[in-house]
C-alpha cells in the first residue's frame, strides 16, 4: 500500500512540476492557464489518491471514512478548478487581454 501511495504521489509531483515548467515557458496568459489547469486536474488528484491510499495502511471503518473525505477533496477540486479556469479565461477576454498567436511578434 505504501509503495502504491509513493508511486501516486511521485506521479502527482511530476505533473505539478510539468505544470510549473509550462507556466514559466508558455508565452501568454491563456496558454499559461492551460498549464495551470493541467496541474489542477491530474496532479492534485494523483497526490490526493496517494495520500488516501497511504492512510489505508490499517483497513478499519475509521480509516476508510477518512480516505473518503480525502477523495472528496479531489471531487471538489474537479468542480472548482474547471469553473475557475473558465472564469479566468472569459474574464481576460472580456477585459481584452490579447491572445498570443503563432508567428505574431509582439
Amino acid at each position: 500500500m505504501t509503495t502504491a501511495a509513493i508511486v501516486f504521489i511521485l506521479a502527482g509531483i511530476f505533473f505539478f512540476f510539468v505544470g510549473v515548467v509550462g507556466i514559466l515557458r508558455f508565452p501568454d496568459f491563456y496558454t499559461r492557464l492551460h498549464a495551470a489547469g493541467k496541474a489542477d486536474s491530474l496532479a492534485a488528484v494523483l497526490v490526493v489518491i496517494g495520500v488516501a491510499l497511504y492512510n489505508l495502511q490499517e483497513i478499519n471503518p475509521g480509516n476508510i471514512l477518512v480516505s473518503i473525505k480525502i477523495i472528496l477533496i479531489a471531487v471538489f477540486i474537479y468542480m472548482a478548478s474547471a469553473t475557475a479556469t473558465h472564469a479566468l479565461t472569459k474574464g481576460a477576454l472580456v477585459v481584452g487581454v490579447e491572445p498570443w498567436e503563432k508567428g505574431k511578434k509582439k
Binding site: R25, L42, S81
Partner: protein, 171 residues
C-alpha cells in the same frame, strides 16, 4: 417531493461521511440540519427535475458511467500537454486559437457537464456558451484550444457520451 427526499438523503450521506460519529446525539443533529437545509434549498440541487425530465436516478447512474471515461481523457490529454511543455521547441508546437461549434445537447445540466469536461481536459478551455437570440439554432460553444490537434478532437466522442449519460432518451 421527490427532489426533497433526494436532497435530504444526499445531505445526510454527506453529513455522515464528514462527521464520522454514529451515536444518537450526532445522528439526530445531522438529521435535523439536513431537514432544515432540505426545506430551504431543495430547489437548488435539482432545479429542472421538477419538469419533464424527472429521472434523477438515471442521471446519477449516467454520470457514474461517464466518470471513468472522463478520467481517462484527462490522463491522455495531460500526457499530451506534458509532452508539449517539456519539448525543447514548445513554442513551435502550440498554436493557440479560439474555435466555435454547435452543440446538440439541450439540457442545461448536460451542457454544463460538457463545458466542465472540456475545461478539465488540458489543452482546451470553454470560454462561453452562446445562446442563439432567435432560438432557432442550437447553442454554440466557444472553446480556446492550445493546439490544432486538441481542437480537432471536439465535439466528437465526448459530446455523444454526455448525451448518452444525461440527455433524455429520444428513441
Amino acid at each position: 417531493m421527490k427532489t426533497k427526499i433526494a436532497t435530504f438523503f444526499i445531505m445526510l450521506a454527506f453529513w455522515l461521511v464528514l462527521s464520522g460519529m454514529f451515536d444518537g446525539f450526532h445522528l439526530s443533529l445531522g438529521i435535523l440540519c439536513c431537514l432544515l437545509v432540505t426545506h430551504f434549498s431543495h430547489d437548488l440541487l435539482f432545479p429542472e427535475t421538477t419538469g419533464v425530465h424527472g429521472n434523477w436516478l438515471r442521471d446519477i447512474i449516467g454520470v457514474l458511467l461517464y466518470l471513468p471515461y472522463l478520467l481517462w481523457q484527462v490522463l491522455i490529454a495531460n500526457l499530451q500537454v506534458a509532452w508539449i511543455v517539456l519539448h525543447p521547441r514548445a513554442l513551435e508546437m502550440i498554436d493557440p486559437h479560439i474555435f466555435r461549434f454547435y452543440t446538440k445537447l439541450t439540457r442545461p445540466i448536460a451542457k454544463v457537464a460538457f463545458a466542465q469536461s472540456i475545461t478539465l481536459t488540458p489543452g482546451t478551455i470553454t470560454i462561453n456558451i452562446y445562446r442563439d437570440p432567435a432560438g432557432e439554432k442550437p447553442d454554440q460553444f466557444a472553446v480556446y484550444a492550445l493546439t490544432r490537434e486538441a481542437a480537432a478532437a471536439l465535439p466528437g466522442d465526448m459530446e455523444s457520451r454526455i448525451a448518452k449519460a444525461l440527455e433524455p432518451a429520444n428513441g
